[in-house]
């Protein structure tokens, strides 16, 4: 593990990254005929250090019990482990422990909030007007959202009759704020947007957007899936009312996610899933509910996964989130420069030099992303291809699919090189004439692209003429 004396804004030295990679057994395996694995898909899910696996195993071997149920010693120990995990994770994002709700992933966390709005029936007492939605109200999202932060709001709109509005995306990957005042108004009850785009890498100005939202009385829900693992997030200063993220992208286990919400809001929010462990008192007619966070954790919770995620957070803290951020941005710079030197590749999102997250998505002129990904896979380079659960964003960009490389703490500059070398095989395999590549051809973003099936760059649109 890197020494704590290293500069916080420096990327890891070769020695440091080698030591850190030693914590991830999977990184030593080979794929596809003995090729060394080059894993550049951590934006989909990160690998997990041994400490995380050990923590889960120890929980099951030593303390396993249903938490918050039973008075025996194991139940006490398991409950302590679970609540300590909550405290560790809360401290990591600058929150009091009681403001962290465990879910199964970010998707469930976002649904929990969306359902709180529609479950807040106008007849129910006590009620909080901020969560009551009707046809006169509006929901605001953005065009760059992951489906996890879009579909639940579409459904909320359908259930409540409150129209869904969205901020469009500009050609260079930033949100188009020119119509913010007409889209974010006193009708807006909730504004949900991503902190860092999982496709564009764009870092949205959360504090500024939240301030505008709060000025009109809207609640702010931030999808922090691609920020919490990659840069320091402090909810005390972020500006959001809620954030959601997944443990499995933060070096933690699958099956654990986090919803953070301001205590005052969690207190008045209606429950989402109901049943055991979330009640205060139950009769045959009705029930009352435990205070948050228990109110939102129905059933035997994912305690082992929570313990695993706390171990992941402890690992990140020991390495240093600022150093991880610095290392990743140096890797992203190297990748952006390498791609910029290849005129037949077009990166989506902010231009080189703009601060961005750990994901870099691109198109290769004339070759579909699936085919690009297949050639990379053949060299042992794992990336993601497709629309990355952001289909409307891809439509806005005028592409069906992109190839996305995304980095984590354990990636090396050699791996970025390996990706670029493998990429260089693509034009030859698919017979693309490099002399015809147009370095200035942008990816047209505009109403035409959004309208549907137009001829798109970077893919095989074949039609008889």
């Amino acid at each position: 593990m890197p020494s704590s004396s290293a500069r916080v804004n420096a990327s890891f030295s070769d020695r440091e990254v080698a030591a850190l990679r030693g914590d991830f057994p999977i990184l030593t395996r080979t794929v596809r005929d003995d090729r060394r694995l080059v894993y550049l898909d951590s934006g989909a899910t990160s690998h997990k250090p041994t400490a995380v696996l050990d923590a889960e195993r120890t929980f099951y071997e030593q303390h396993n019990a249903a938490v918050h149920r039973g008075a025996h010693q194991l139940a006490e120990e398991a409950t302590d482990d679970f609540e300590n995990a909550r405290a560790t994770i809360a401290a990591f994002i600058g929150a009091p422990a009681g403001e962290v709700v465990f879910t199964k992933n970010a998707t469930e966390a976002l649904n929990l909030v969306a359902y709180a709005f529609s479950n807040a029936s106008p007849n129910e007492q006590p009620k909080d007007a901020r969560f009551v939605l009707g046809p006169g109200d509006e929901i605001l999202v953005t065009e760059m959202e992951h489906h996890a932060n879009l579909v639940p709001w579409q459904e909320l709109s359908r259930r409540t009759g409150a129209p869904l509005r969205w901020l469009p995306v500009l050609a260079e990957g930033a949100l188009d704020l020119s119509d913010l005042d007409t889209l974010l108004t006193d009708r807006t009850k909730v504004f949900a947007f991503t902190h860092v785009s999982n496709v564009l890498g764009t870092i949205n100005p959360v504090a500024a957007l939240a301030e505008r939202a709060h000025a009109v009385g809207a609640l702010v829900v931030v999808d922090a899936c691609q920020s919490v693992p990659h840069l320091a997030v402090d909810v005390a200063t972020l500006g959001a009312d809620f954030i959601a993220f997944s443990g499995h992208k933060l070096y933690g286990p699958m099956g654990i996610g986090v919803l953070w919400g301001r205590a005052e809001l969690l207190e008045v929010m209606p429950a989402f899933l109901t049943g055991g462990s979330m009640i205060e008192m139950v009769t045959m007619e009705r029930s009352t509910y435990a205070p948050a966070p228990q109110k939102f954790e129905a059933g035997v919770p994912n305690a082992a996964q929570a313990v695993g995620l706390a171990a992941a957070v402890t690992w990140v803290e020991a390495v240093g989130i600022d150093r991880i951020a610095a290392h990743e941005s140096a890797l992203v710079d190297a990748l952006m420069n390498g791609l910029a030197a290849r005129p037949w590749v077009h990166v989506v999102g902010p231009p080189p030099g703009t601060p961005r997250g750990g994901a870099v998505a691109f198109v290769v002129d004339g070759v579909h992303a699936h085919d690009v990904g297949q050639v990379l896979d053949d060299a042992g380079v794992a990336v993601r291809v497709g629309h990355h659960c952001a289909w409307p964003l891809h439509r806005a960009l005028g592409v069906t699919a992109t190839t996305r490389a995304s980095v984590a703490a354990y990636n090396t500059f050699g791996e970025v090189e390996a990706l670029l070398r493998a990429l260089d095989r693509v034009p030859g395999i698919f017979g693309i004439d490099l002399d015809e590549a147009d370095p200035d051809a942008g990816l047209g973003v505009g109403p035409d692209a959004r309208a549907g099936s137009v001829a798109l760059r970077g893919e095989a649109t074949r039609e008889a003429s």
Binding site: V367, H368, A369, H370, D371, Q374, V375, D378, V385, G386, H387, W391, H394, T400, A401, I429, F430, G431, S453, L456, E459, A460, T461, R462, E463, A464, S465
Partner: protein
């Protein structure tokens, strides 16, 4: 890479019989939800019932080389053939693609389709190769053909040792 056979690259660059033509008896639009690839496909039939013949398959395909090439091979193989033979070709193609590399495919039945044998080793790409073919069987059904005899499962069979199961696992 054995996946990208010359034949596949050739078909993907110059897809045969592409474009949407009139007249047609049914038109379908299929999407691969994992990547957003699309195909619009039309069939024109002549004759009825067991005597029906595929007169034309026309299409607009937008997707990766595997899906475009596979649709091109489909159009080439089934046009002018009796519907019953076309369905047998589909079955044969599907069985090969979902075999996880255990079935090489029969050139007598699927023609250039044998070039896609390598795809079956890449489960994530099987859906690409089948996009046009499932659209075709759907279009036949909409044109009134009874397709109940064929299997429409498109997921690769989970590799069980020594088995060449022809029934895919449904998603």
């Amino acid at each position: 890479m054995d996946l990208y056979q010359e034949l596949i690259l050739e078909h993907s660059k110059r897809p045969l019989r592409s474009g949407l033509r009139e007249p047609f008896d049914a038109e379908v639009h299929h999407i691969n939800p994992t990547c957003g690839d699309e195909v619009t496909l039309r069939v024109e039939l002549s004759g009825e019932g067991a005597d029906a013949v595929v007169r034309d398959v026309s299409y607009r395909a937008q997707g990766c080389s595997i899906s475009v090439a596979s649709t091109s091979v489909l159009a080439e193989e089934v046009t002018g053939r009796p519907v019953t033979e076309a369905l047998a070709t589909f079955e044969s193609m599907r069985a090969m693609l979902t075999s996880r590399g255990t079935e090489p495919g029969d050139a007598e039945v699927i023609g250039d389709g044998v070039a896609f044998a390598g795809v079956s080793k890449y489960p994530a790409r099987v859906k690409c190769a089948l996009l046009g073919w499932t659209a075709f069987t759907d279009a036949l059904a909409r044109a009134g053909v009874d397709i109940s005899a064929i299997s429409t499962a498109t997921n690769p069979t989970v590799a069980t040792s020594g088995s060449t199961a022809t029934q895919g696992v449904s998603s």
